[in-house]
Symmetry: C2
Subunit: 342 residues, 2 copies
């Protein structure tokens, strides 16, 4: 990709702030010669932090001062009201004004979603933005949305999520005609709540490649490129999966540390365990997309290290270059033209 | 436990029928001298199957003929209408008539729930039965309900689930004063849908030990003895967890089979991998309880082998001996007397 692109980074967000965001930005600039990054936050501190960077990298780094930081436990409404000069909001406003093509933040998810929605607005035809992330599965990966932005969803919301998510899967090059599944507690048609059943009908009637209901265990068997659900269910499914993976890793460590013999076995098995750890490393999937907005906004895990945050920047870069919001807009236009839903 | 107990077993249910249920029944009889088992199903076939058993075991085995079997993909309403002499229904009716103290089946979950509800009825104060199972977590285990019987739940339903589940946890000896959590997408008070928020209020006002909202990942860190949720969310959470665990096991196998060197490492690490497999072996947790009925009904995984099915029988035995339905009934009585809810 040779297209030039400018990203705004909320440099103060997340658990570690500039000590993570600045090195990650530098690494991303090293990877993409066409990239420019605007670091938003405490100007003096950021200036000091970028001093030691190589001049060719520094040349594509700009700093925009913002005097406030949204706390990780601040409520969205408080952030909206009292943090008008936060690094998060200023970074989003750079997307709004067109100075930046995307914004990346490791800050408070609720505040990021609320601020992005308030400042950028949703695309026409989208009632609510949704959070979408990439999840590994056997022999591949899939995307899932919503992951917590929308607790209650109607069938129409779920349908909109499917449209937005499928554009993302296509643009990321994972599939030209993404297989879309609805997360449900069974695969038979009679299963599920009314919203899910009605969403299934909407998807069946559309030109999207709907593959039916997907159960929680089957989504890890590569049966769909996109799994659609309400934010409550999606959040619980994702976090349960993370919880089990962490528990198994812990078990594995415990078992190899049990005694001298198992420690020796652990040494012998080290390369295999490292390979497993790489495969399970959730950092590589860091960077959730806030879809449905008139601009690209990517959310990093708050606890991301520099390498993980770099992956979130990469997500923002790809979505900006691929102009995801315009593509979603165009796709919605096609769908509503083909079959007016309102 | 010296109390005598009679269990009715749907001998034809599950993927393997009598080839699994009969050896499992024999093993359970060997373990519990006070136990009697009634095998329900194809009389001639079951007679042949038990011929070779030791006489002291056989002496506590009875056979009850039933001419039909509920198919694994049959709808609950079809099973209710057309399978009045199914092994499942006859086994449930033995509980209804008092001939058996509990029923265990590896058959079709929907049909089992519908038949049990229709034939046994729910306890007074319980609107809907729920499915509860045991799940391993770091340093322990917890129980979760509902796992799929109730797609949509009100706050009152969730509260009833909490009462039923806490009685089960107490009776199983896991905790005298179970910590009860509500599954949610965040731990702050403002998070969640209306049902969950209202259920939190009901739990706070009760004398149950409510520990607050629990996120999907935190439930595997031993923060609650009982996690309460609607059946849609619970089913997705449980199956997602199973899917991830299966994927990681597969990864581990793949990595150890990669080449000669990793295969050798796998041999050296074998005892550790076996220990891990034992810890993750979901068969030990086989046997989900259908709570809220006027009788004990336990559902085994359809694909259970004899050892796994024996665990489900064990669950039924413990619940029968502990008289779980009466204890739930008594607990509800206390709660409604203390603070009339209607």
């Amino acid at each position: 990709m040779t297209q030039s692109c400018t990203l705004a980074i909320d440099a103060m967000g997340g658990d570690y702030g500039p000590s993570v965001t600045v090195p990650a930005a530098a690494a991303a600039l090293g990877r993409h010669p066409s990239l420019t990054i605007i670091l938003v936050g405490d100007g003096a501190r950021l200036e000091r932090q970028i001093e030691s960077l190589d001049p060719p990298i520094r040349a594509r780094l700009r700093i925009r001062s913002a005097t406030q930081v949204v706390d990780m436990d601040e409520s969205p409404s408080q952030a909206l009201r009292f943090k008008r000069d936060s690094s998060m909001r200023v970074a989003i406003d750079l997307v709004r004004s067109g100075e930046a093509d995307a914004c990346v933040s490791a800050g408070n998810t609720g505040a990021l979603m609320a601020t992005a929605r308030y400042r950028l607005k949703t695309l026409p035809g989208i009632d609510r933005p949704a959070i979408c992330t990439t999840i590994p599965c056997r022999g591949g990966r899939f995307r899932m949305l919503d992951l917590g932005a929308n607790v209650d969803c109607t069938a129409e919301h779920l349908f909109q999520f499917a449209v937005m998510g499928s554009v993302l899967v296509e643009a990321a090059g994972d599939s030209h005609h993404p297989r879309i599944g609805l997360l449900n507690l069974g695969e038979e048609e009679i299963k599920g709540n009314d919203q899910v059943k009605h969403a299934a009908q909407l998807l069946q009637e559309s030109d999207l490649q709907y593959v039916g209901y997907v159960e929680g265990d089957r989504m890890f068997r590569n049966v769909a490129d996109l799994v659609v659900c309400d934010g409550f269910t999606g959040n619980v499914a994702l976090k349960s999966s993370e919880g089990v993976a962490a528990m198994i890793s812990q078990y594995l460590r415990d078992e190899f540390r049990r005694n001298l013999l198992t420690r020796l076995a652990g040494l012998v098995a080290m390369p295999v365990l490292r390979a497993l750890r790489r495969r399970l490393d959730h950092r590589q999937y860091n960077g959730a997309s806030l879809l449905g907005l008139r601009g690209v906004v990517v959310k990093s895990h708050g606890s991301a290290d520099a390498w993980a945050f770099e992956q979130a920047i990469e997500t923002g870069f790809v979505e900006a270059v691929e102009a995801i919001p315009s593509r979603i807009d165009a796709r919605l236009g096609e769908i509503f033209q083909a079959e007016p839903q309102q």
